[in-house]
């Protein structure tokens, strides 16, 4: 009997920007339903890794498969099953939150009722018709969370997902993108303690290289400190 393939599998993943290697030989895998936390200093390669997983960037070396599908060959299939929440909300500033979500719902062929369901979930129904440019950063982030989970993805790629969210808003988005959602997740965070608390596996990146790949309980404090030194 063969085991299920890992939801995420990276082998010797490499990516350059010009001459500079942003990622060098990253190897990792994560099982379905688990959370992989990616930690590291600014510029360590966390966002680049997430953008490659989101099919927004191509790797220049190595192999990558998501949800059992090899990338970039089967990117078209994978896109329907992944949700990406990056630094930018990917919302048009001059459209309202509702218009933005309806636009994304049409692109993903999702029923419009799902938009209203999510607006309710993040308590944004009252401000849903205001242009995004008039909303606070936290409200925009709540809408961005809605956009990321609109099509009920199997894999969530979360780049600093709780940035700009107050504790109340964090609680609102928790059922959508938190551990309780039961989805496979890759998340980056500048708050190592919080990330360790919700991770099944931690990948430490330093200058584009993997410093460690371990379960949170196996990590030594000095390994974590060295990552940010």
């Amino acid at each position: 009997m063969s085991a299920d393939p890992p939801a995420i599998e990276l082998r010797e993943l490499t990516r350059y920007f010009g001459e500079r290697a942003a990622l060098r030989g990253i190897t990792a895998s994560a099982a379905t339903g688990t959370t992989l936390a990616v930690l590291g200093r600014n510029g360590a390669g966390k966002s680049t890794l997430l953008r490659i997983l989101a099919t927004l960037l191509r790797a220049h070396g190595g192999q990558l498969s998501l949800l059992g599908e090899p990338l970039p060959r089967r990117a078209y299939v994978v896109r329907a099953r992944l949700g990406y929440l990056g630094h930018e909300p990917l919302l048009y500033r001059d459209l309202s939150g509702r218009e933005n979500l309806r636009y994304h719902a049409r692109l993903h062929r999702v029923a419009q009722a799902r938009v209203e369901e999510l607006l309710d979930a993040v308590q944004m129904r009252e401000r849903a018709d205001d242009p995004v440019r008039l909303l606070s950063r936290g409200m925009v982030q709540r809408l961005a969370v809605c956009r990321a989970v609109l099509h009920q993805p199997a894999l969530l790629l979360l780049d600093e997902p709780r940035a700009s969210l107050d504790p109340g808003a964090e609680a609102l988005v928790e059922p959508l993108i938190g551990r309780g959602a039961g989805l496979t997740r890759v998340l980056t965070s500048h708050d190592p303690k919080a990330a360790l608390g919700e991770a099944d596996l931690v990948l430490g990146l330093r200058e584009g290289r993997a410093s460690f790949l371990a379960e949170p309980g196996q990590l030594r404090p000095d390994q974590l400190e060295a990552l940010y030194r």
Binding site: T55, Y76, R79, L91, Y92, D94, Y103, R106
Partner: protein, 223 residues
């Protein structure tokens, strides 16, 4: 097709909210006609000169839309959002070309009466149908090439320069066909429909560039 309509609808909605492009195009064309009116010191024009002025004015007004076509996608994450969706990349080409085509039609709805009022001697009434056909075929060329060029230019820092530098040479054959085809229609000598060969050139030009754009557009969206 649903995805094309979704993007087209979003682009038109964005324009209705911001009015960043269409008013500029219309105003530019009307001001240009006024400038020609006084610079040439002639109350009325006809034939090749009228066709040339109409063609050049529409072209430069179109460049305003071409330069802005992908700005929201670039600056507000629209490219990433589109690339994350499970849709064919040619959908973006079709939707953006359709949006540009709509902008050009709206421009001409305002620019043609202004042209007739400010510069044109002969009446447009009898040849309007033929002129509309010519303009529609030219608009397809402008929309397809404009979308292609805009997608290239928006990736560069000097997008306002790169757009016209690439687009203008590519558009020369279509613009020659428009100017030559429109000349007899604006001369007031009885011709009401453009000569067939100019329409054929425009149709062929549209087809060739539509196929070319379809073939290369995917690569323009690569990182």
């Amino acid at each position: 097709m649903r995805s094309v309509l979704a993007i087209l609808r979003k682009d038109l909605l964005l324009e209705l909210r911001t009015f960043e492009t269409l008013p500029a195009m219309v105003l530019f064309s009307i001001v240009t006609f006024v400038i020609f009116h006084f610079a040439l010191n002639r109350g009325s024009l006809a034939g090749q000169l009228a066709a040339g002025i109409l063609t050049a004015t529409l072209l430069f007004a179109a460049m305003l839309a071409i330069n802005r076509l992908f700005v929201a996608e670039r600056e507000q994450g629209g490219f990433d959002a589109f690339l994350l969706a499970p849709v064919d990349r040619s959908v973006l080409l079709l939707a953006k070309a359709a949006a540009l085509f709509v902008f050009l039609v709206v421009l001409e709805v305002f620019a043609l009466p202004a042209f007739a009022l400010l510069l044109l001697g002969p009446s447009l009434a009898r040849s309007l149908g033929g002129l509309v056909v010519l303009l529609a075929l030219t608009d397809v060329a402008l929309a397809v090439i404009g979308t292609l060029v805009s997608a290239i230019a928006v990736q560069t820092r000097a997008r306002d320069l790169i757009g016209p530098i690439i687009a203008l040479p590519l558009l020369i054959p279509a613009l020659i066909a428009l100017a030559r085809g429109a000349s007899p229609l604006l001369s007031g000598h009885g011709r009401t429909f453009p000569q067939g060969h100019w329409l054929a050139i425009l149709g062929l030009y549209d087809l060739v560039f539509a196929l070319l754009a379809y073939a290369v557009f995917d690569f323009l969206l690569e990182d």
